[in-house]
């Protein structure tokens, strides 16, 4: 239904040596350098890369929506054979209305808060020339297609009244309204909960099969791209460094960057005891930086002189595969940056008294006259030198729990927090100086966790002064020691946060947390805001520090791969309640709680395993009105029956060291989860 004249064989999208530059502070900075790729009709192409690589710029260029200071400085864009850059304003508008659509991150912001959803959806049709009545009818139809229950009611609402997942479905519906030839998705599920993300991706895959739309899928998440796309292109510093079928590229990468990237990820169930994560040394280049020769030379383990002098051409390295590297044959032989395997520590004895324990943790917030039960009766402990992973989606209460442990949020009466068996005051200000020193935190966002007016030296130094009473030369000495311990270049100590990269800032935050020689450090999504290549280095650092100092971690993350790598024990939270707790190996393998099962199946893996998707019905309920009985019953695919609605199951020890909150006996779970019909069991 594309209005653009097209031959049936013309590729849906063709980028021909596309170059885009931005005018920033008086200089032109090259964001895309000669990127060429082709998407065949009906094909899904994934564009991956880290921040600043230019992937979003490519998407905006294809929609002809570059910001005012951006310009296409070379190359061509062809959609269905038509030259996009040669189009007039009117033609571009028609193109946007009928041939190409885009869905991007943060669905809440992408909808006009002052218009009803129905009016916005109708616009997508009326702009293609339909009448208002016809638009309304088609809108209803489309919302049903994106699996929104009760579309009529949704159309009448305002965007803020919908959940994140539903908002994104509405946006996908609007994007597909005109049955475009090309659909661009730019990080469409970043920021959505795991189970919701899985639903949205399923939806996109389903719609694509139905409508035959070509897809350009942009993401930093390799596993998601692997799942959704047939072909993939890897972007680094504005250059396409490798391209080919997704399976092939991920299984057998032929460019050092791709190799490095894949090695950074904790894959296939590796654990910290087995090996360190590989890292890519150096930092991502600033967007638009001047990079003579190969763009990856500064960080490449295979670098030779020719790499810095001559930009490598695109080599054909296989059927439908290319790589931009002089030494692509040696790519797999890239030296590992992880040195010797880590010495295996003895398992933490379960008999040891926990360093930090909480019993009956409960917290109720008052919001708009309602009682929001953020936490309800959580009992947990962390042993010395152990990492406890806290897993859960939004509303699970994991952050609230961490804050209760730290004393930042005063819990409801009846909550007992203990450090080394001694009770801790619920409020931070009532705790003794030693107790405060013993519990520290590394926050998710290093930009707001560090005072932007202070130099790194002062940030760490102040912590030393207040927590250990160090001053003068002794303090300076210790600052340098800590900087070395977190692998932070001491020359950078006078720098302010604004001058440091994300990884460096997080190291300063870690140094600050460790300044007082704490017993327990809460890590609240410490790597979620960082790029993949940087994440591995920080995770390695955290494990090293734990080995050296015997500190315990409460590690909060939504990324199951990271949790599997790091955690000794795992606790799964849902709506403020503990659903399952035990050794990580035990929790992550069947038999486990149905919610854990769903979480695991929602997370796409890079190993290429096909897991049966456990679909969860409905949305996460509101913590202000939790369901009766077992709070998970409204979405549980293995719900037993009426008992689940009536009675909340107790947290019962199903086997030694493994507790579950479920009415289904462990043996039944084991049987049900052993081999879901029609699939191979997950690689472990």
């Amino acid at each position: 239904m594309s209005a653009v004249p097209v031959s049936a064989d013309a590729p849906a999208l063709e980028l021909d040596a596309l170059a885009v530059a931005f005018h920033v502070r008086g200089q032109w900075r090259q964001a895309l350098r000669g990127v060429s790729l082709t998407i065949a009709p009906g094909e899904a192409y994934g564009l991956v890369g880290e921040s600043g690589c230019g992937k979003s710029t490519a998407a905006l260029a294809v929609m002809r929506y570059l910001p005012r200071n951006g310009r296409v400085t070379g190359g061509a864009i062809r959609v269905g054979g038509a030259d996009l850059l040669a189009m007039s304003e009117r033609e571009v508008r028609r193109y946007r209305a009928q041939s190409a659509s885009m869905v991007y991150q943060n669905p809440g912001a992408a909808l006009n808060p002052s218009l009803r959803v129905g009016d916005q959806v109708a616009e997508a049709f009326t702009v293609a020339g339909l009448s208002a009545a016809e638009a309304r009818r088609r809108g209803l139809e489309l919302l049903t297609r994106v699996q929104i229950a009760d579309p009529a009611s949704v159309l009448r609402r305002y965007p803020h009244q919908l959940s994140g997942g539903m908002q994104q479905r509405v946006l996908i519906a609007m994007a597909l309204a005109s049955d475009p030839a090309l659909l661009i998705l730019d990080e469409p599920t970043t920021g959505l909960d795991a189970t919701v993300e899985a639903e949205v991706l399923d939806l996109v895959a389903g719609l694509r099969a139905e409508l035959g739309t070509s897809i350009l899928f942009i993401s930093h998440n390799l596993a998601v791209v692997r799942r959704m796309c047939e072909r993939v292109g890897v972007l680094y510093a504005g250059r396409l460094v490798e391209e080919g079928p997704a399976d092939g590229v991920f299984r057998d990468p032929r460019h050092p960057y791709t190799v490095g990237l894949l090695r950074c990820l904790p894959r296939g169930g590796t654990r910290k005891d087995e090996r360190r994560l590989d890292t890519i040394p150096g930092v991502l280049p600033a967007p638009g930086a001047d990079l003579p020769g190969c763009v990856f030379a500064d960080r490449c383990g295979l670098v030779r002189d020719i790499c810095r002098e001559e930009e490598p051409p695109l080599h054909a390295v296989g059927p439908g595969r290319t790589s931009r590297c002089h030494f692509w044959q040696d790519a797999e032989a890239l030296p590992h940056t992880a040195a010797s395997p880590r010495p295996v520590r003895g398992p933490v004895s379960a008999a040891q008294r926990p360093v930090l324990a909480v019993a009956g943790a409960a917290k109720t917030f008052r919001q708009d006259g309602q009682h929001v039960h953020a936490l309800a009766g959580v009992t947990l402990g962390v042993g010395p030198g152990e990492t406890l992973g806290l897993v859960g989606e939004s509303g699970s209460g994991k952050t609230t729990l961490a804050r209760v442990l730290l004393g930042l949020t005063p819990p409801d009466a009846g909550t007992a927090v203990e450090l080394d068996g001694e009770p801790l005051a619920p409020e931070l200000s009532s705790r003794s100086a030693e107790d405060v020193r013993a519990l520290q935190i590394v926050f998710q966002n290093p930009d707001s966790a560090l005072n932007r007016r202070f130099a790194a030296r002062r940030i760490v130094g102040r912590a030393l002064t207040k927590l250990l009473g160090l001053r003068g030369a002794r303090r300076e000495e210790r600052v340098h020691e800590l900087a070395r311990a977190v692998r932070f270049d001491e020359r950078l100590l006078p720098a302010r946060p604004a001058q440091l990269s994300g990884g460096l800032k997080q190291r300063v935050a870690i140094a600050r947390a460790f300044a007082g020689e704490p017993r327990v450090v809460v890590c609240d999504e410490p790597t979620s805001a960082l790029d993949v290549s940087v994440q591995a280095a920080i995770l390695n650092l955290l494990v090293d520090l734990q080995d050296e100092q015997g500190v315990s971690y409460v590690f909060i993350s939504h990324d199951l791969g990271v949790v599997r790598y790091l955690a000794d024990r795992i606790a799964v939270l849902y709506l403020g309640r503990l659903m399952e707790v035990g050794d990580s190996a035990t929790v992550l393998a069947a038999p486990h709680h149905p919610y854990t099962e769903a979480l695991l199946s929602a997370a796409p893996g890079l190993g290429g395993e096909e897991r049966a998707r456990i679909r969860l019905e409905g949305e996460i309920p509101s913590a202000a009105a939790p369901p009766s009985g077992c709070v998970f019953h409204t979405r549980c695919p293995r719900k037993l029956g009426e008992i689940c609605e009536r009675e909340e199951p107790p947290l019962a020890e199903a086997e030694p060291g493994h507790a579950l909150r479920c009415h289904i006996p462990l043996e039944d779970l084991r049987r049900l989860q052993a081999a879901p019909p029609g699939t191979t069991p997950p690689a472990s």
Binding site: M63, Y65, R93, R94, Y95, R96, A97, Q98, S101, M102, Y104, N106, A109, A110, L111, N112, P113, S114, L115, E123, A124, V127, A128, R157, Y158, H160, Q161, L162, S163, G164, M166, L171, M174, D368, G369, E619, S622
Partner: protein
């Protein structure tokens, strides 16, 4: 929405009460000895004492406040020292006159300011934007009495196109009244325009950069529709609150303008009262001014709550 309303009105009442205390303190407590400050430092102590007794200002502060506030609630604002007339009567007529002037100024400045701000935002960084922003800023910075004087000079005396007294002859029709009020209203417009335009500009710029505007453009909608349906709706919402706070500056401006144009409004009344150290009249006038302002902001808040779907239909995901 209902809870919001109640809460908002409750707050307004508290603020109103605090306002009365402040006004009373300023008027009755600060001068110290009221009779002394009226009669001057050279008057004999007996005369001062006698006047204090006559005015009732020899009683304790709390008693005087209770007396005053109970009167206010009943609508009785006391009697003017200097003019020997009930204060509420004097304020009533003055308020009506000022209202006419203020209304004219408002009707002119609100559309102009919003238009100016939106245009500046649409041409951000270019000549039109600089002209409106810098121009508006410079013009507002100049006190209204300066404009008043300049306006009288230029339009009234040199060019002789508009009347220089704001007060139309009694029995004049609406159009004639407007003619007389035009000069003073224009002075007020000049002072209010800058800030209003700037707020409208900021709101529009933010809306233009928003994700939902991008969605609208990428749907293929023509620019005019995008601006009308998506940008303006969201840009102008915060401007409502700003318009209300401008009432404060408007009233402040009235004081000097009415004096220059010799117009019998609350502004001129206020200055007269101050000249005479007529505290009951002063307090009454200031209290009424405060009430008007609080009402304006209350109405603005309610309008905002009504127009903003997030507040009107609160509530979260389902």
């Amino acid at each position: 929405m209902g809870r919001f309303l109640l809460r908002r009105i409750g707050l307004a009442l508290v603020t109103l009460w605090l306002l009365s205390v402040i006004v009373f303190v300023a008027g009755e407590v600060m001068p110290g000895d009221v009779a002394r400050s009226i009669l001057g430092p050279t008057a004999a102590p007996e005369t001062v004492a006698a006047l204090n007794e006559e005015l009732g200002t020899d009683r304790s502060v709390v008693v005087r406040y209770a007396d005053w506030i109970s009167g206010v609630v009943r609508g009785d604002l006391g009697e003017s020292y200097a003019f020997r007339r009930p204060v509420d009567e004097m304020i009533g007529q003055a308020l009506w006159n000022s209202a006419k002037l203020a209304l004219l100024a408002f009707v002119l400045v609100v559309p102009l300011g919003i238009l100016g701000g939106v245009v500046a935002a649409l041409y951000e960084g270019r000549a039109a934007d600089r002209a409106i922003s810098v121009g508006g800023l410079s013009v507002s910075a100049i006190p209204e009495f300066v404009w008043a004087v300049a306006a009288i000079l230029v339009f009234g005396i040199w060019l002789d196109v508009l009347p220089v007294t704001a007060q139309a002859p009694p029995g004049a029709g609406v159009l004639t009244q407007i003619e007389y009020l035009l000069l003073p209203a224009l002075c007020l417009v000049l002072v209010l325009f800058g800030y209003l335009a700037r707020m409208a500009r900021a709101g529009t710029v933010e809306a233009l950069d928003a994700d939902y505007t991008r969605t609208a453009v990428l749907k293929g909608l023509p620019r005019r529709t995008v601006i009308r349906r998506h940008v303006l709706r969201n840009a102008l919402l915060p401007t409502i609150a700003v318009v209300a706070t401008q009432t404060g500056y408007l009233i402040g401006g009235l004081v000097a303008i009415e004096l220059v144009f010799n117009y019998p409004g609350v502004g001129r009344l206020l200055v007269r009262a101050a000249d005479q150290k007529d505290f009951p009249l002063l307090e009454g006038t200031v209290l009424v001014i405060g009430v008007v302002y609080l009402l304006a902001t209350l109405v603005a808040d309610l309008a905002y709550a009504y127009l903003n779907p997030r507040v009107r239909f609160g509530g979260a995901a389902a």
